[in-house]
Amino acid sequence: MSNCISIPMNPWNHDVAKDEKDLVDVQIDGVWLQMPRGLNVVEAAHRAKKFIPHYCYHPKLSVVGNCRMCLFEMGTPKMGPDRKPILGADGKPEIAWMPRPQIGCATGITPGMGIRTDSPLVKDCRNGVMEFLLINHPLDCTICDQAGECKLQEFSVEYGTGESRFVENKVKKPKNVDLGERIVLDDERCILCSRCVRFSSEVTKDNVLGFVNRGSYSTLTAYPGKRFDNDYSLNTVDICPVGALTSKDFRFQMRVWFLKESKSICTSCGTGCNVTIGSREGKVHRLTPRENEAVNSAWMCDYGRLNFHYLEDKERLQNPLTKAAGEHFPAPWGDALNRAAEGLRKVQPSEIAVVASARMTNEELFVLKRWMDELGVTLVDTVNRPEQGDQFLRSADGNPNTRGAELLGLSHGGRKLSTWGGEIAAGRMKALLVLGGEDVVAAGIPAACLAQLEILIASAILPNATTRVAHVILPGAGFAEKSGSMVNVHGRLQRFSRSIAPPGQAREEWMILRDLREIVTGGNSLHSIEDIWKSMATVIPVFAGLSWGKIGDQGVDLTHSLPAEATAK
């Protein structure tokens, strides 16, 4: 696993112990347990299924200990005159409890340590901290986007008093601050935990955020004249425990408790950051990063996070279309597929070429491959999508599944594709399938050249220059509308599940290819993603022993079984 970590090693990672095997005895709420030496107390409690509330502590950022919410009662073993722990009746060390509470985030566990997370003292501390935090808070939950996932709200219910004794005037601070291109700040909601400040200095390393003034007047701000426009800025909205930092894209769109959350991956580049899709009633409202240490830790880029609005595009292809008398008309699926099959039957398999897409899933590509093999079609390639990557999560490969397409033998890096314009012009290539929404016109085959084809079949989710001249258009599904798996640039196989239904008659592409296959070659197997995996695991050596279920939510590292030339990248 070590060689597939794509992001720079996080120097903090408080949720991971230095040595997971070096265990010491600790007592957590009266129960003796074994935990790795030095583990952060907040994390140790978490592993013991106890919860120590916290605001400023974040496992992937440095510890500052400024919110005081994680106060706990700490004890150390009582020592006898021989400097050995005095053992109690149960054979365990007796614990001497310190009179004052400690902060869990800045305390590592030591042998024999006692931790109380729910004693009267601890409850009293939390209550007091909550009261202080709420003194200047505007209490505007009803119009706040964070409501429903707000730590201030949750802990207030859990540990607060429910009413305020504060009769003085609240401090007024800037509201509706335009912090950057994608972020709005409400300084009155801010509890000064400094997570965003630490994120921008420790993770993205171009900190423009900081606190000015002091005491009750401390205010989060960007340096005057500077904007918080980093491509990772929206991660601060995720880690903001309150509603101070909000995403311009998501604010006021949907109450978070209405969102249906499904586990997915981002398909905007080759990294494949793990994400959670929040959707409601067939509409995707937001993507948030899902933690995976082997891929994206707890972060994702703003570009990928916001790159889902095309699912809502008014131009979405919703019906299969067939061309007659130079115009496209809606057709039932059966008619459209028959028209496609008919066109393919009229030409020799050697005259058929397929533009697969490295944006398609392994499952879609495998059904395609099966169909091509049965028919004897060998001409296939994908369209390259080079991008300006960054040194963090954005990959230089704009395709999410280049490795998968290579593994299935359907990609030749666009080298074959570049010669196809000539083949078509020479009349040697008569049928072309363009899948996955690829646009071969943009890839260098002129529309006039495509017009010479006897049949051009395109599957896409949005119209493009290729679909405009296609004889048959098959409407496909976007990443949130289908299930499947992909292999990221680091050789990690990851899966994602359908979150919403595709619009209109549009379908998941593996189903389209499955039905086309049945009509063209008569092959009928592969009726579900699981079927496809059963078959794929026997045919593709790298996938041997794997199944849809075994991929799991965190994916599977394939680097040890990948063929050499694929790993050489």
């Binding site: 200095s201 171009d206 900190n207 423009v208 955020l209 900081g210 606190f211 000015v212 003034n213 002091r214 701000t221 960007a222 340096y223 005057p224 500077k226």
Partner: protein, 178 residues
């Protein structure tokens, strides 16, 4: 530091003017060299140096110090706004600080402040930061404890310390500003 306090104040009212001389650069480098482990620790000494040289710390100073210590500007600005001693606009040639912490407040520092305010012809209420006279000659602000509670009320005029400043003494102090 050999640089006299408030040197250059008159010349830089309204803008952080003045040349960054090789002498200043040298002084700054010397201050930075005192913190071999963490350059960042030199922020406060440099802020003092800048304020003593130019009278106040504006964006030019923040950016110069940030560059000098390889910091982000915000990291310097945080400190400038945190410490009341640092100021972001030029003060008067004679800057008065009147202690308002409890012993001085009980000793009548409010009256002293009001007397000074009247003598300097300043309008605002004094609790929102320093007030500056229109001619740039005087400025006045409250401060917290100046550490001489036994001789309250106390006043700081530029760098000079005055004890038991009642209204009469206040008049003398203003008159003594030459």
């Amino acid at each position: 530091m050999s640089v006299p306090l408030h040197a250059g104040t008159e010349s830089c009212v309204g803008a952080e003017k003045g040349e960054i001389t090789p002498v200043l650069e040298k002084q700054a480098d010397e201050l930075v060299s005192r913190y071999p482990i963490s350059k960042r620790s030199a922020v406060l000494p440099l802020l003092h140096l800048w304020q003593e040289t130019f009278g106040y710390i504006g964006p030019r100073g923040v950016e110069w110090i940030a560059r000098k210590l390889s910091l982000q500007e915000i990291q310097v600005l945080e400190l400038v706004t945190f410490y009341p001693w640092f100021r972001q606009q030029p003060y008067g040639k004679f800057h008065f600080r009147v202690c308002r912490t409890l012993p001085c407040a009980l000793g009548g520092s409010g009256k002293t402040f009001a007397a000074l305010q009247k003598l300097m012809n300043l309008k605002a209420d004094g609790h929102e930061g320093a007030m500056i006279s229109e001619d740039g000659r005087f400025s006045l602000e409250y401060s917290e404890c100046l550490a001489s509670c036994g001789t309250a009320p106390v006043v700081l005029r530029n760098d000079e310390f005055y004890e038991k400043v009642d209204e009469k003494r206040a008049t003398e102090l203003v008159a003594g500003c030459q």
